[in-house]
Amino acid sequence: MAIQRRRFLAVAGSGVAAGFAGCAAVSDGNGDEGDGGPAISGESITLTTTTSTYDTGLLDEVNLSFEERYGVGVETVSEGTGAALEHARNGDSDVVMVHARSLEDEFIEDGYGVNRRDLMFNDFVVVGESDDPAGISGAEEITEAFEEIAATESTFLSRGDESGTHTKELEIWDAAGVDEFGEWYQERGQGMGEVLSQTNQGGGYTLADRGTYLSMQSDIDLEILVEGPIEGGPELLANPYGIVAVNPAVHENVEYDLAMAYIGYLTSVEGQKIIAEYAVDGEQLFFPEALAEEPNFQQYVPEDWERTTDD
């Protein structure tokens, strides 16, 4: 009798266990349909973008007013430009806002992005400690400054993360004809904020976007040694941001209409005004670039990145 009870319960028990396992698997897979949306509203889009737009606080500002206006939440994933575009290529985001025209063009040429718009710009600056061991302060040409850093083998911290800033930095080394890097050249593989903090702590030079530098200025002792075009510096240091929707013909699941609403809002008079008025410590960080009576047609199509550096 006892033996039979055992056998019966063994069968029943394994059935229950299997049921449990099924439950666990189902709740794991299905949970997203129940509460996968954002806490704030019914619909949302995913924006993959660079660290600079997020870390400066600009995106919180524009996304808040976009959400108020359209009731659509913007889920922002901030990472390097390379990673942001890669997520978009996989169809994991609906819209990208990045700052490396060459990579954006590749993205569009490969068919993943449509309807690119110029959004805004600021510029890059070379920052370092005030003692300036390579003597680059006030250099006329950024290539000269970089040559000097390489010649004196002064410590230079590179983002090394396929970001827009890293892409720009590599372009400058290329333009300066520097192709030998020694121990003085350190790839950190981290975001702008981290690299600025590390430069501040360990010393050396780095290339930074003005926005992130200004937003961290009060926490670090680094100085701008070579200005970008906003303060009359070399054009090569221009830093234009573009915004591109993910092609719904390639990825059916993307929220193309909402992405276009977002692009439309950011490039509207209202959106551009928010960008122009956003300031940290009284300094404007980004300069709107979307509105013009005579639009720059090259913003819509792949083009040599150099063509777009005029502001």
């Binding site: 319960l9 794991d28 704030i40 940290v280």
Partner: protein, 238 residues
């Protein structure tokens, strides 16, 4: 985005102590890790019992896989889960990427081997005599398993705690699959304490990062206290 320049941004005025921000981050951390650990425990205990009592082909192999799993680097798990849930991956149609569910999946993968491995050690150390006695007085296999779990409850509680510790303290995988998303008003969607700490450090706000870190330690202590308490009261069956 610097405290002290707050007039520019509603979130920044009292940023480090912004209630919505902190509360929602803690909520997301606990939500993701507790569910992941609960699911891991449900799956791990039967496996641990099976491995502890049964002899079968491939047992050695399974045990080594579990032991290896205890040391899985979380970023690798994150990458694999990202690959799985990405729109292009096998689970792409569920649209799980950058959701809490994806984070639960990766933490499940991280916590399950730890819970299984430590429970296995606890279950194996239960005296054979106890199991024989339970069986001899007419207990079913389930009864024997329950008696074993009861005997091994401290070890199993330790296993669950170790799994929870691994889940809530890891940053690599949740950052990759969750995307560290918070709304413009500071309402966290997939931002956990660990990814928030990472973000604050990136932005040079080390004080805020420290505060969040202290909060994380306090949370882990609290959960430990609760589990240990439950373990000693109810005999390990939670």
């Amino acid at each position: 985005m610097i405290p002290g320049t707050g007039a520019l941004h509603p979130l920044l005025i009292e940023f480090p102590f912004e209630w919505t921000y902190i509360r929602s981050i803690v909520y997301v951390s606990l939500y993701v890790s507790l569910i992941a650990v609960a699911l891991s425990t449900l799956c791990s205990l039967p496996v641990a019992l099976l491995l502890g009592f049964k002899e079968f082909r491939g047992k050695q192999l399974l045990t080594s896989i579990i032991n290896t799993g205890m040391g899985f680097p979380s970023v690798v798990v994150g990458l694999v889960v990202l690959f799985a849930v990405s729109n292009q991956g096998p689970l792409g149609s569920f649209e799980l990427v950058f959701t809490r569910e994806a984070m639960i999946m990766s933490q499940f993968v991280l916590a399950a081997p730890v819970i299984t491995g430590v429970s296995l050690a606890a279950v194996s150390s239960v005296d054979q005599g106890v199991r024989d006695a339970a069986f001899a007085i007419g207990g079913t296999r389930l009864d024997v398993a329950l008696v074993t779990i009861k005997e091994a409850r401290y070890g199993i509680a330790t296993a669950v705690l170790a799994g929870f510790g691994r889940a809530i303290s890891e940053v690599g995988s949740v950052l990759i699959v969750g995307g560290n998303i918070a709304g413009p008003e500071g309402e966290s969607y997939t931002r956990t304490l660990t990814t928030a700490i990472q973000l604050e450090a990136r932005q040079g706000r080390f004080e805020t990062a420290m505060i969040l870190g202290a909060l994380l330690v306090v949370l882990v202590l609290l959960v430990n206290a609760i589990v240990v308490r439950l373990g000693s009261d109810s005999g390990g069956l939670r």
